[in-house]
């Protein structure tokens, strides 16, 4: 416990603003993967390759993978303070609750 001051930051030393974490290689790799997943989703729907029962979960999984990649590597949550991930996770949890509530309300 520290003496002589308020406990303002107890986590690890944060990444200083502006310090490079993502390299060109990482950016390119993520961009290629995102494009590939988008192509898979587009072809799956346009080409009627799968029955609807399989297609809907596949599309949702592909979208979730894309969102996670962008959050972790582009938005740098992989390297940044955990508080940011927790904050955004809270926002997403709230978003899911809102989706369920609004959908339930409007489906009555």
């Amino acid at each position: 416990m520290g003496i002589g001051g308020p406990q303002l930051h107890t986590g690890p030393e944060p990444r200083p603003a502006g310090r490079a974490v993502g390299t060109t290689r990482v950016h390119l790799l993520v961009a290629i993967l995102l494009a590939a997943l988008t192509i898979v989703a587009f072809v799956s729907v346009g080409g009627h390759l799968l029955p609807v029962g399989w297609l809907i979960p596949l599309l949702l999984v592909l979208a979730a993978a894309q969102v996670c990649m962008q959050l972790l590597y582009y938005m740098r949550l992989k390297w940044d303070r955990r508080i940011f991930a927790l904050l955004f996770g809270g926002g997403v949890a709230l978003a899911v609750l809102i989706v369920l509530a609004v959908h339930a309300m409007l489906s009555l």
């Binding site: 003496i3 303002l8 107890t10 603003a17 599309l59 940011f84 955004f88 709230l94 978003a95």
Partner: protein, 207 residues
């Protein structure tokens, strides 16, 4: 008589602890804002999901959606995320000219996305889908249009940084947070589009 001590907002050591810097505070604020924006988009997406079957006499999503056009817009936005990242990386390495080039490319791609969205909206209106034609039309234009406004705001934000750099010179370590905050917003807009593309367009064609 000695001058009074002036305390700045820089990282100040307090025992083993430290106060957050303005850059860290800004970043925290941006994340809180993005989290709340997430909830806002959730409400619009939920409304769309509940209303997309209420088409009345207007065209249905299956009849209407032009997937190649929307997929093109999606690739444009994905590419803009890459160029934004490359611009941020250039700024972190102090490569001023490269940053400016990537900022311009990102803004052009953002405007191209908005332009494609305008083409899409115009096409749909000519085919009979207007915001007041059906519940589907109202919820569709509100959701996708709201996202388009976000992209437009993002372009304006990047333009303000571009002008800042032109007027004040290269971004130093103390100003990089401006670009980092704008990049977080830009990526968030891209993340939301991935969800909209899947839920509205792809699932709209399937279901």
């Amino acid at each position: 008589m000695s001058a009074p001590e002036v305390r700045t907002l820089e990282a100040t050591p307090v025992g083993p602890y430290r106060l957050p810097t303005p850059a860290e505070n800004t970043k925290l604020g941006i994340w809180v804002w993005l989290a709340s924006d997430c909830a806002l988009f959730a409400a619009l997406i939920a409304t769309y999901v509940s209303m997309h079957g209420h088409v009345g006499h207007a065209p249905t999503p299956q009849q209407l959606f032009d997937l190649p056009l929307t997929a093109t817009a999606t690739f444009v936005l994905l590419l803009s995320s890459l160029t934004m990242g490359l611009g941020l990386e250039a700024a972190q390495h102090g490569e001023h000219q490269r940053l400016m080039r990537w900022l311009v490319v990102t803004m052009i791609l953002g405007l191209a996305f908005v332009g494609l969205q305008a083409v899409e909206f115009t096409t749909y209106v000519h085919r009979g889908l207007t915001p007041d034609a059906s519940n589907f039309g109202a919820s569709f234009f509100t959701l996708v249009g709201f996202h388009g406004l976000h992209v437009t705001f993002g372009v304006a934000w990047l333009l303000s940084i571009f002008i800042f750099v032109v007027r004040k010179g290269p971004l130093g370590p103390r100003d990089l947070w401006r670009l980092e905050a704008a990049s977080l917003y830009w990526y968030f807009v891209d993340v939301v589009w991935v969800v909209i593309f899947t839920v509205v367009y792809l699932l709209g064609k399937v279901s």
